[in-house]
Symmetry: C2
Subunit: 152 residues, 2 copies
DNA sequence: TTCTAATTGAAAATCGTTTTCATCTGGCAG
DNA sequence: CTGCCAGATGAAAACGATTTTCAATTAGAA
């Protein structure tokens, strides 16, 4: 299941939020992109179509969308503040290109077994995980030649 | 293999860095803690033993240690800026208590298979991953009663 | 011991984010 | 269709975290 513009607007309304042209533009910008975007990057993109829009509005809209779980946060590359439309609504993770920022979603992280093991070994009550793969997409990989293994 | 104070100092020297009392104190504070600490938190701890130390020095020392791979960065809880001594020098991950900040290291993330699958399906050249489990340690879990599943 | 490059701390600059407040507007009630 | 008002907006100011600058200090090699 994927979020469409219609579904997103429904979701906003359902929570008592209004649909403004500014919000539409921000949502559009995020939906259109297959990269993770920082608030500043979104602002830049959005300004061309909606010159007067303030960075504050971006922040507020992002906060709202994130609160409703409609966008995902990305941690790659240091910034904890990059966002991405939540494309599959279900549990999923990201594979991120360090070259161009392109993001591929994937499901099936299969960490349940590991989670069980850890819970047993540590007596923790585990309630979530953060998983991202970093790499280079085909294009960036070719462009770069093919050195550099960052492996963590 | 675990980093000892001696080994860390060797490592600094090897890279042309000097061993100053301030640095020793910072390293000590990080080593002693089993929580992930923000720069400000480290500063607070360190000041009691070394009153005049500036927050700047903390930042600089953290930058240096991170650059050498001697400390780990944690992403849990929003802050991208919490650090932790790299306890096993090998590839490992963290299980973090959202209550008290306690961190348990674990090895054997077993993501090689998934990584292979993704590489094949997406033509990405994958060179790393970010994995953290979030939860509550036994103590915090009991204290909190036992509601709230944050599951992502 | 001497000397130099590296390190330190204070202050200022900078960056990203949030708050405040006066103004404006989406969308419901009439 | 019109008026109304809670919610939304934008500018400016406030804020907190991080970085830069610079003069003074110091670790450690010679």
């Amino acid at each position: 299941m994927v979020y469409t513009e219609k579904r997103i607007e429904q979701e906003l309304r359902r929570h008592g939020h209004k649909i403004t042209p500014q919000r539409r533009t921000v949502i559009d910008a995020i939906m259109r992109s297959h990269e993770h975007l920082t608030p500043a990057a979104i602002h830049k993109r959005v300004k061309s179509e909606h010159p007067g829009i303030g960075l504050v509005t971006i922040y507020r809209t992002l906060g709202m969308l994130a609160g409703l779980g409609l966008i995902c946060e990305t941690h790659a590359g240091g910034s904890c503040r990059s966002y991405l439309m939540r494309r599959p609504a279900e549990h999923h993770h990201h594979l991120i290109c360090s070259g161009c920022g392109k993001v591929v979603d994937f499901m099936g992280c299969d960490l349940a077994g590991l989670e069980r093991r850890l819970a047993k070994e540590t007596s923790f009550k585990i309630n979530g995980h953060l998983l991202e793969f970093l790499g280079q997409c085909r294009k960036c990989s070719l462009a770069a030649g093919g050195q550099k293994a960052l492996s963590e």
